[in-house]
């Protein structure tokens, strides 16, 4: 083994060991870790769940952060005693509620959000795809193309079609059980996408059919879509290329997000996916993350209520994302009106992300998540990453079941829109 391999092995082993040791608090709570949304405790609790597949046994806070609003000021009316057997609680949801088309169910109300090849390492992408396959859910390619290594997992991979059309080819649409149109994203609503030049390596450039080390912009919006009718043409295009695919429409959360949702329904979408302004994994201007578009906590009831009033709520799936950090956030989203959630950052935290936000600096992520650096990428072995993500979802499953059982609900579908089960704290 050469020195380079030894160095990678050394740091990889130490990082993995650290992720095991830190949640025990043997060395205290790391002072510089975390922030208001992802507190140090929440990050360590996620490491712990990714390690054990169980909820933290020590007092680490694993339900909420410290943002002072949204999910963090919502709680449950009754969360104490199981009224039904937790093991019998059904967490599956359907991703197609229309009368026609392929019926797809996922065993828990979660699937993975789009993180593109180029913005994340191939190894992390593979870990996510493997985890999705093992669980029986989905992960999304993001807008960076479809690496060959992902093809064996294609039954569990959503192909994203976004404004830059990077990597969108007939076969990648035909692979997909679900095709996701990304109109906008929570991290930079209304601003398109941006992959900085440093990350556009030869592999990334080849995948995106562009030049190496040149910044790549995905424009905003789709310049072929200026109306719901244009949007319908897009949906029809996908359904022509792949008649078996379900269509998801990912949008951000403007004031009229309810109108956007109903427009997507009439255009033929199976899933309306709203991505709140506080979320996102991609590098984005700070001004956009904090200030543009509403948080998903406020958007979910707005869209749910509108779809109900229009009489189409049971014909379309409402998926929420953008700041979903915990099992409690998922359950709260569903109680506010969503059918399920898309998760991305939590998967990154499961494999060691510290939420430091330095993804675009220098060589990229120091633990190999959001990087194309060949050395750093090796810190995440796909098998190890898969296991951590599966463990996290296993722990979340337990928490979701415990919440539902506490209310005597036998299915997560019965939680949808049950705001009456929530309380809010001052």
């Amino acid at each position: 083994m050469g020195n380079q391999e030894l160095i990678v092995e050394k740091h990889s082993e130490r990082i993995h060991h650290g992720l095991e040791v830190l949640p025990s608090l043997r060395h205290g709570l790391p002072a510089g870790l975390g922030n208001k949304r992802w507190t140090a405790e929440l990050i360590l609790a996620t490491y712990e769940m990714a390690l054990t597949g169980d909820l933290p046994k020590n007092d680490l806070e694993y339900k909420i952060g410290d943002s002072g609003g949204g999910f963090d000021v919502l709680g449950w009316k009754n969360d104490a005693f199981a009224k039904v057997d937790q093991e019998t609680v059904d967490l599956s949801i359907s991703l197609n509620k229309r009368g026609e088309g392929r019926k797809i169910e996922i065993p828990l109300p979660i699937y993975g959000g789009g993180m593109s090849f180029g913005s994340i390492s191939l190894n992390f992408m593979l870990a996510r795809a493997r985890a999705a396959k093992k669980i029986g859910t989905y992960t999304s390619t993001g807008e960076g193309g479809y690496p060959d290594a992902i093809v064996p997992y294609r039954d569990n991979v959503i192909t994203q079609v976004a404004t830059g059309m990077f990597g969108v080819r007939e076969e990648t649409i035909q692979y997909a059980p679900i095709v996701e149109f990304k109109y906008a994203q929570g991290a930079k609503p209304g601003l398109g996408g941006h992959l900085l030049a440093d990350k556009v390596t030869s592999e990334v450039a080849k995948m995106r059919e562009s030049s190496m080390f040149t910044s790549l912009y995905s424009p905003f919006p789709f310049h072929s879509v200026y109306s719901v009718e244009d949007h319908k043409k897009h949906v029809d295009w996908i359904k022509t290329v792949n008649p078996r695919a379900l269509v998801s429409v990912k949008v951000s959360t403007p004031t009229d997000v309810d109108m956007v949702a109903i427009g997507s329904y009439y255009a033929g979408a199976n899933i309306i996916h709203i991505d709140g302004g506080y979320g996102g994994t991609g590098a984005a201007p700070e001004i956009a993350k904090k200030n543009i578009a509403m948080p998903v906590e406020y958007a979910i009831p707005k869209v749910h209520d509108y779809l109900v009033s229009e009489g189409v709520r049971d014909d379309i799936v409402l998926i929420a994302s953008g700041g979903i950090r915990t099992a409690d956030d998922i359950a709260k989203s569903i109680a506010l009106g969503a059918d399920g959630c898309v998760v991305a950052t939590a998967e990154a935290v499961a494999v060691g992300c510290t939420h430091c936000g330095n993804c675009e600096r220098g060589r990229g992520c120091q633990v190999g998540i959001t990087t194309t650096d060949p050395e750093l990428s090796q810190f995440i072995e796909p098998e190890w990453g898969e296991e951590r993500i599966v463990n996290l979802y296993t722990a979340w499953t337990k928490r979701l079941r415990s919440i539902l059982a506490g209310f005597g609900l036998k299915s997560v579908r019965d939680l949808r829109g049950r705001k009456d089960l929530l309380v809010r704290y001052k």
Binding site: R14, V21, P254, V260, N291, T354, R361
Partner: protein, 465 residues
């Protein structure tokens, strides 16, 4: 035979030329990284055995930013290089500690957070928009501007691609009174307005020195904007960019200089008529502190014919009411009162006090301002030192440093450049071509308090155990 040549277009897209203006005074390290030295030494010995004295492997460091790249490695970390990624703590939790440094935590005052000070420093030194990965990391919503989100347009929009796009988004605003109807007898006298290319001016600074005044004057000149000054001897070489604040004592001096725009303290003197008569081609702006009765006062002034209103809060963005409100609330109130009385389109509103981050510009405009003035932000950009609370306009605790005016001007140009780019990002996301359309357009914003009540309606209140 005559050849037709295509004349080059005279059109030039407005750009602010930014270039690096690094910090002159040392800034504190954001993070304090340290190692337990005995444990570090023990670890090195252990790894020396583990890797059979393979120096390259043993000394390969757990940092990609070079914090341990000095001769003494972890024994004397290069703290200024630390970005808080925590990898060293992940790898060696028993040895390494990373925390926010005490010097960093002491930055600013109760309003100016260390994060905000750092943001302004970096914007002024680099001229680049702050970009980070992995989502938002701060508090949910909040008070004042933090409780406002701007809208975005999902599909239909006239502009493209934000700062990278080809289409022009105008950030020009006019300062002055606009007539509500055409007066055919005065067609040869066009209304007097001054156009500035960005909706930001420099307000009167709480303090300064020769270097600071010169930097402000030069930056205003380069940017095509204005600077407000109570002392008319400041920035004499950039007189045409100065907006003097006039009182009874300085009125004759001002009349001689014939400034394009002039301000007066409306609470202290009723100089409007005198100024309008003696300076018929100048724009006369009444300067008024925001408080409970501002709505009534501004309507009265607008009826009397003032050309503009400069409404200010304290340096923390709080108005001067008995129970202070944030600038956003009292500004909105004043703007709406003028709208109600049918006077709003006649006058320009400049808002200042607590405009400390790029996002405050579009949010203040949404709340009713035409443009904003910045004050303490200018001094922060020029690396002034906070010595305590800087809230009152009279008892500030902000000490300016001695600076080179050229360097200072570039810092301010950079700041405007970055804020301009961020304003364009916000306008672009909304699909707006012109910042003037944003004025008072509350419909293109979302308020935390309103959304909370709508979306959480029906959820019972509870007390946390």
């Amino acid at each position: 035979m005559e050849t037709e040549t295509i004349k080059p277009s005279k059109y030039e897209r407005f750009r602010i030329e930014t270039k690096p203006a690094p910090h002159v005074y040392q800034i504190p390290n954001k993070f304090d990284v340290s190692a337990r030295k005995v444990r570090l030494a023990a670890m090195l010995v252990h790894e020396a055995f583990e890797f059979k004295l393979n120096k390259e492997v043993v000394l390969s460091r757990p940092c990609i930013y070079g914090v341990f790249g000095g001769r003494l490695g972890g024994f004397k970390p290069l703290k200024h290089k630390c970005v808080g990624c925590m990898r060293c703590v992940q790898e060696y939790p028993h040895i390494m500690t990373v925390k926010q440094s005490d010097e960093y935590k002491r930055l600013g005052d109760s309003f100016w957070t260390p994060e905000a000070v750092f943001t302004i420093w970096n914007e002024a030194s680099t001229g680049k928009i702050p970009v980070k990965g992995m989502g938002y990391k701060g508090a949910f919503g909040g008070e004042g501007f933090d409780g406002i989100w701007t809208d975005m347009s999902e599909i239909v929009r006239p502009t493209r691609d934000g700062v990278y796009g080809r289409e022009y988004i105008s950030t020009c605003v006019d300062i002055g009174r606009k007539p509500t109807k055409v007066d055919f007898s005065k067609l040869d006298q066009p209304p007097s307005t001054v156009k500035v290319p960005v909706p930001i001016i420099f307000d009167e600074l709480p303090t300064g020195n020769r270097g600071v005044w010169a930097a402000v004057g030069t930056a205003a000149e380069k940017l095509g904007t204005m600077f407000v000054s109570r002392d008319q001897t400041r920035g004499d070489s950039h007189r045409e960019r100065m907006v003097p604040i006039v009182d009874e004592n300085s009125i004759y001096e001002t009349i001689e200089k014939k400034p394009a725009v002039v301000e007066y303290d409306a609470e202290e003197s009723d100089l409007f008529e005198k100024l309008a008569r003696r300076l018929p081609s100048s724009i006369v702006i009444a300067r008024i502190p925001l408080r409970e009765d501002t709505g009534m006062v501004v309507c009265k002034l607008a009826r009397e014919g003032v050309h503009g209103l400069h409404l200010y809060a304290d340096y923390h963005g709080q108005d001067y009411s008995k129970d202070p409100l944030h600038l956003s609330a009292s500004l909105k109130e004043a703007h709406q009162q003028l709208v109600k009385e049918g006077l709003r389109d006649q006058v320009t509103i400049i808002a200042s006090g607590g405009i400390t981050l790029a996002e405050h510009v579009p949010k203040a405009i949404i709340c009713g301002a035409d443009l904003v003035g910045i004050d303490t932000t200018v001094l922060v950009a020029l690396q002034a030192e906070f010595l305590g609370e800087t809230r009152d306009r009279e008892s500030y605790k902000l000490r300016p440093r001695r600076i080179d005016p050229g360097w200072g001007a570039q810092r301010l140009v950079n700041l405007f450049g970055v804020w301009h780019d961020q304003l364009i990002e916000i306008l672009s996301a909304m699909g707006m071509r012109d910042v003037r359309r944003l004025r008072g357009d509350i419909g293109r914003s979302m308020m935390d308090t309103e959304l909370r009540e709508q979306s959480f309606k029906g959820i019972a209140w509870a007390t946390k155990n």
